[in-house]
Symmetry: C2
Subunit: 340 residues, 2 copies
């Protein structure tokens, strides 16, 4: 096999506030043929996720910052097109934390093989992947919803929020979603059967939220932070649990984020708030995937993807996350499988 | 026995901001003789505690607000001087949630008998009472300090903070206290053997705190809130635990309390914050008292009390809590025991 040239997208400079297209740069690079234990991959799907914004800054976050002038990395699904690995064959589909590239030369041990018969392969970036597991662990391990309790989820129409709400329904809770467009609200109510959905852009948001949560709030799964969360926290019940999964409303702020301090609210309600990242639960990924796949097959868990085509559109898709463009998981489709 | 007249202190009006003496009013009332199941009590010690400030407002707090024109209630140690109870005899010492009164006529089932041989009776308002148990449960059940970890406690010289720091030492942690006077700092360092104590009134508080916590902060036991807590939270480690016990710096604020939102800090550190009140642990009080009494007898737990004499001085002692007057438990001694 002759050597292959890959396109790649790098971080050109650290974004200030809302990222712009000029924060990214394109590059080409020749890849060697695989050595023993290595495989050559062709990218099929690239995941864009809100947490990546944190890695574009050089402040402390979950994970190491991206380096300026280096590739951006994240969840990628790819097909093995050449292999010197004993575990992976040509035609296998794999997932890994890989670069924004059209092709990859990587050691086999950085990859996990996907069973394409289990579910559409793109679901491994969404409902059966990192966002699905993030919903699963945050809600069940921290939120611990009980039958009849009220669970509120912000960023409800996103890749994580849609799964949170559906698992909360499976747990027998009343589910109240918070989202920002009528299309999202319709989807959450009609397709995912959320009990109530409130638009945080409404002038009367606070009253509408109170109306939707007449028994108060027992679990608040927080994807957004900021003023939306301030309003939610005013309504928590004694013993409330608050998994903090993301703070997307703040990721592009240039100023320190000031708001009402929440400790008194936690104090008078004996409430628990806990931040987490899905990798905290690395030892339990298999359990989560099994449960999620079971619910998916039973039809108790459904999903939607927002798919953009074309490698060059990855940065635009990423920027779209902060404009509320996506319903469900936002994915870029880069290529079709060669072997079907 | 002829009827007895009790003095009582009532809430004259709801304080605005820092309470003033004019928020209290004095009254006298004749008490009947005890009926079956009742006892007549003479007050020996009255506890003044920061949480009482919350009950003087009519906003939602841990417990119901005090009513204007009605007695203020709290922890009181008293001696039985007349009894129609089968369980309590004249001369017995009891503790209960009773009014700020010199005498009380109450049903026996509102009282718990104290063993005066176990420890000085006033300790049942402090190290062996509500503050000691508050320290115990918040630190051990929420903070869960491990050997070698760094535990920071604010309000370190108070009734709760002094016990928190000593239990953290027993657990093998490095203990950093935060206090506001040199006298308190000396006491915490020299008598209680805290590893470091930082003065929050220092101009360089933030740097000094960082210096004292070179390995970051694993547990922050928060008694004060506000800007002190903002500074502490900047230094937490991955997996930090933050029991929120009190927010004394805020109790007298008239404006909403604004500060940097903390969710991002919890998120990037997978940190846990939990409010609580000692009554959440009602089922486990006996275990706590046994452990605390054991440590007290072994000399591993020591205490100091700030004692003011005279019933009429109760409001002044209460106001003193917010001026940082006390080291250890602040108690008002009202009378000596009749039977010794």
């Amino acid at each position: 096999m002759t050597s292959i040239t890959t396109k790649q997208i790098r971080l050109a400079k650290r974004p200030k506030g809302m990222p712009e297209k000029s924060d990214f740069e394109w590059n080409k690079m020749a890849l060697e043929n695989p050595d023993t234990g290595e495989v050559l991959l062709k990218t099929l799907y690239v995941s864009v996720d809100p947490y990546m914004r944190g890695r574009m800054s050089d402040s402390k976050s979950y994970v190491k910052p991206y380096e300026v002038g280096k590739m951006i990395t994240g969840g990628v699904i790819a097909e093995v097109i050449d292999s010197k690995s004993s575990d992976l064959q040509k035609g296998d589909v794999v997932i890994g934390d890989l670069g924004w590239q059209t092709y990859h030369l990587v050691p086999e041990n950085q990859l996990r093989k996907i069973n394409p018969e289990q579910a559409p392969i793109s679901t491994h970036l969404g409902v059966l992947g990192m966002p699905g597991m993030t919903a699963y662990f945050g809600l069940l391990d921290i939120g611990k919803p009980k039958e009849g309790e009220t669970v509120v989820v912000s960023g409800a129409a996103g890749a994580v929020g849609t799964v949170v709400g559906q698992i909360a329904k499976i747990a027998g809770a009343k589910v109240v979603g918070i989202a920002g467009t009528q299309e999202k609200i319709n989807y959450l109510k009609n397709d995912l059967h959320f009990d109530e959905v409130v638009n945080y852009k409404s002038e009367n948001f606070r009253d509408e939220l109170k109306q939707a949560c007449q028994d108060g709030i027992d679990v608040y799964y927080d994807n957004v932070g900021g003023e939306v969360s301030d309003s939610v926290l005013r309504l928590i019940n004694k013993g409330a649990r608050i998994p903090v999964c993301g703070q997307i409303s703040l990721y592009n702020l240039e100023k320190p984020d000031l708001g009402p301090r929440i400790q008194s609210q936690l104090l008078i309600n004996s409430a628990l708030m806990k931040g987490f990242i899905v990798s905290d639960y690395g030892a339990h990924f298999e359990e989560a995937i099994q449960d999620l796949a079971k619910w998916l097959n039973e039809g108790r868990l459904t999903y939607r993807e927002t798919v953009v085509e074309g490698f060059n559109n990855i940065p635009d898709a990423f920027l779209g996350l902060f404009k509320g463009e996506n319903i469900g998981k936002y994915i870029v489709k880069v290529a079709d499988r060669e072997v079907n």
